[in-house]
């Protein structure tokens, strides 16, 4: 019987999973909304089924439509990608209920990791380090001071009912405890009608370092090194690397061990990622576990020479791990290319891609879901794809990244490429001296604002360009570029 896999997603992750299927000899099924009939992920599949109108809730989030598409096409495997229905335990259960194999972790593991508080308790039980914090609200300032003596300063006071940055206050020493406690408690009472306050250790300028784990359904599990994902804009990852420059062999071993313990604690099966905060002293703390294949998985693939997407499918089919004791080689960096305008506050820039020119040559991988003529709809996440570079070490990877960014061209929509071009010439980025707030600080300090003033080269291009345009207007078939265009047109004619 033919094995057929449906990807309940769109864009580059759908293409990535389809490529994995083709490498495994599995037939592919795309689903699409009315905005995507002509999208590359649809054209790339052996089967394709319309889900519904453009809004995600009527298409890519519609569980009944997706299950029906699987039934129509005879798909037996369903891959959620990332976003949309990934990490939705209900969807995993619905697939199982319809007799389909969900390519991902058990619904129970998704659920366990989905609740942040329950996950924290489980991690503590499994011996995975978490940010030290009081397990219940403080009865008074004395409770806070006692915790501070145990855990060390600085602390972060938090309103139990708070959220979104409200009702939080930094405390640097015991002398500040009493005043700060009163202030947070009073703010909590007025804002949330609940004066409960607790404290946790404040991790200063942490890095985001995560560990890739892969577990099969027979008890096999392996950690495939770490990824450095500290380059974030408003908590969204923008650039990821493998390995992290600040993780040495000993720390790596301890982080991998903790990640495996975290995955084991929820009986994890499939590819997953355990995210940690890492402080300057090399202490790391469990942040959360992403129970899916992540956007940034390619940097691990390049450095470890593995294929996480095919491995994930093989595991769903009941096969044992094929990834054994792999070792890293070189350094990889990924840039997420979004249709956003970095010069206008990263406003989305949907529209039609008038031309795409991808970089190529040694050390460059493109996982990109747009082509010349593609439409970037207004309805979804505006990620166009990912640029992944790989080199023998970080300096070589960076050189290749600079080269790739110079060669990369997308016209028709604004993209985040200009941001990356600035980043690669930033000394702190080049020396990897960053933390999770670094990019936001850099942007606030005007990273993108000192617009280059035109160089002599630009003056010459403008002047000759204007003269050529004038000549072409006057003599459409005899001007400089006109001659060229005409010559080309003539050649085209000759080909008919």
């Amino acid at each position: 019987m033919v094995t057929r896999l449906l990807v309940a997603n769109r864009g580059e992750i759908a293409l990535r999973i389809f490529r994995a299927c083709r490498d495994l000899g599995i037939e592919t099924v795309a689903v699409f909304s009315d905005a995507d009939r002509e999208a590359p992920h649809v054209a790339a599949a052996d089967h394709a089924v319309r889900l519904g109108p453009a809004p995600a809730r009527e298409s890519y989030l519609s569980v009944p439509a997706i299950l029906e598409a699987a039934r129509t096409t005879g798909a037996t495997l369903v891959h959620p990608g990332y976003g949309f229905l990934a990490e939705n335990a209900g969807f995993a259960k619905a697939c199982a209920g319809a007799g389909l194999t969900f390519v991902g972790p058990p619904a129970s593991a998704i659920e366990s990791m989905g609740s942040k508080t329950a996950a924290r308790e489980r991690m503590i039980a499994a011996g995975v380090p978490v940010v030290p914090g009081m397990r219940k609200a403080a009865a008074g300032a004395a409770d806070i001071a006692r915790f501070g003596r145990e855990a060390g300063y600085p602390l972060l006071l938090k309103a139990s009912a708070g959220g979104g940055g409200k009702g939080m206050r930094r405390v640097d020493s015991e002398s500040e405890v009493a005043g700060s406690f009163e202030r947070v408690a009073s703010e909590a009472r007025s804002s949330f009608s609940d004066g409960a306050v607790y404290a946790e250790r404040l991790v200063e300028r942490p890095r985001h370092v995560e560990v890739q784990v892969v577990a099969d359904s027979r008890g096999g599990i392996v950690a495939v090194g770490e990824r450095e994902c500290s380059i974030q804009r408003r908590h969204q990852k923008v650039v990821e690397e493998c390995p992290s420059t600040v993780v040495g062999p000993d720390l790596r071993a301890r982080m991998c061990e903790a990640a495996v313990a975290a995955a084991r604690a929820v009986d994890y099966v499939s590819c997953g990622t355990v995210e940690f905060l890492l402080d300057a002293s090399g202490n790391f703390y469990f942040l959360e576990m992403n129970t899916r294949l992540q956007v940034e998985h390619p940097v691990t693939e390049e450095v470890f020479g593995v294929d996480l997407a095919t491995e994930m499918i093989r595991i769903a089919l009941g096969e044992p791990l094929s990834i054994g004791a792999v070792s890293p080689r070189g350094h990889a960096i990924e840039c997420r290319v979004y249709a956003e305008d970095p010069r206008r506050g990263f406003a989305p820039s949907p529209g039609t891609i008038t031309a795409v020119r991808l970089p190529q040559g040694p050390g460059i991988r493109n996982d990109v879901a747009v082509e010349t003529g593609s439409v970037v709809p207004i309805d979804y996440d505006p990620m166009l794809g990912k640029l992944i570079v790989h080199g023998a070490d970080r300096p070589e990877a960076l050189s290749r990244l600079v080269r790739a960014l110079e060669d990369y061209r997308i016209t028709g929509v604004e993209t985040t490429l200009p941001l990356f071009r600035r980043l690669v010439s930033d000394p702190e980025f080049v020396s990897a001296a960053f933390d999770v707030q670094w990019l936001d600080r850099r942007l606030a300090a005007g990273l993108l604002e000192d617009e280059a003033s035109p160089a002599d080269e630009d003056i010459l291009l403008s002047a000759v360009g204007a003269a050529m345009a004038a000549l072409e207007r006057e003599r459409p078939k005899a001007g400089a570029a006109g001659a060229s265009a005409w010559r080309r047109a003539a050649r085209h004619e000759a080909l008919r």
């Binding site: 406003a347 989305p348 820039s349 949907p350 529209g351 031309a355 020119r357 207004i378 309805d379 979804y380 996440d381 505006p382 110079e406 060669d407 061209r409 016209t411 200009p418 071009r421 617009e451 280059a452 003033s453 035109p454 160089a455 080269e457 630009d458 003056i459 010459l460 291009l461 403008s462 002047a463 000759v464 360009g465 204007a466 003269a467 050529m468 345009a469 004038a470 000549l471 006057e474 003599r475 005899a478 001007g479 400089a480 570029a481 006109g482 001659a483 060229s484 265009a485 080309r488």
Partner: protein, 177 residues
């Protein structure tokens, strides 16, 4: 097939006169007393390739937008305001047109969430004209100058394409009737 154009380019606020002559591929550029010989071709991807006498190549895409050359190259994107003095008459007319009012157009496709003004209404610079949603983000569209709303081109709930006319505003002087 030869051509000669006199242009005024503006860089960092300073105006510079440039004379470009020649064509279709061999050009001479005169600026500030220096003369540069250039071999220029347009590549199949639309970029210009300029070769100077010492072999140096300058490669980039040049487009024209609202009286400026926009140059995109591996050095980034820069904007060079450019005037063709022989066409000054036309420019002046179009400048006058610009001053006669404001047409607010959609900078990206989206859906109109709310329209805050109606035709005939007086608005001050900064008044919220409407709210446009694109990719889940709501953007408040404001008037950049005061005047009277001459036309509202869209209604709440409507999807709009990039470039669509949202609101036209007439200057106060013309809005008496």
């Amino acid at each position: 097939m030869k051509s000669r154009v006199r242009l005024i380019l503006t860089r960092s606020g300073a105006r510079e006169e440039v004379v470009v002559s020649g064509g279709p591929t061999a050009w001479t550029v005169e600026r500030a007393g220096t003369t540069t010989s250039i071999d220029a071709v347009r590549l199949s991807d639309g970029r210009l390739s300029l070769l100077l006498a010492d072999g140096r190549q300058i490669c980039g895409l040049v487009t024209f937008d609202d009286g400026a050359a926009v140059v995109t190259s591996s050095r980034g994107t820069t904007r060079v305001p450019i005037e063709n003095p022989s066409r000054r008459g036309k420019r002046a007319t179009s400048d006058a047109g610009d001053e006669s009012g404001e047409e607010v157009r959609a900078l990206m496709p989206g859906r109109v969430i709310e329209v805050g003004v109606s035709e005939g209404q007086s608005v001050a610079a900064g008044t919220i004209l409407l709210v446009l949603e694109a990719m889940k983000m709501q953007n408040e569209i404001r008037a950049s100058r005061g005047g009277v709303v001459a036309r509202v081109g869209v209604a709440a709930g409507q999807a709009v394409d990039r470039g669509a006319l949202l609101v036209a505003i007439s200057p106060p002087a013309l809005s008496a009737s």
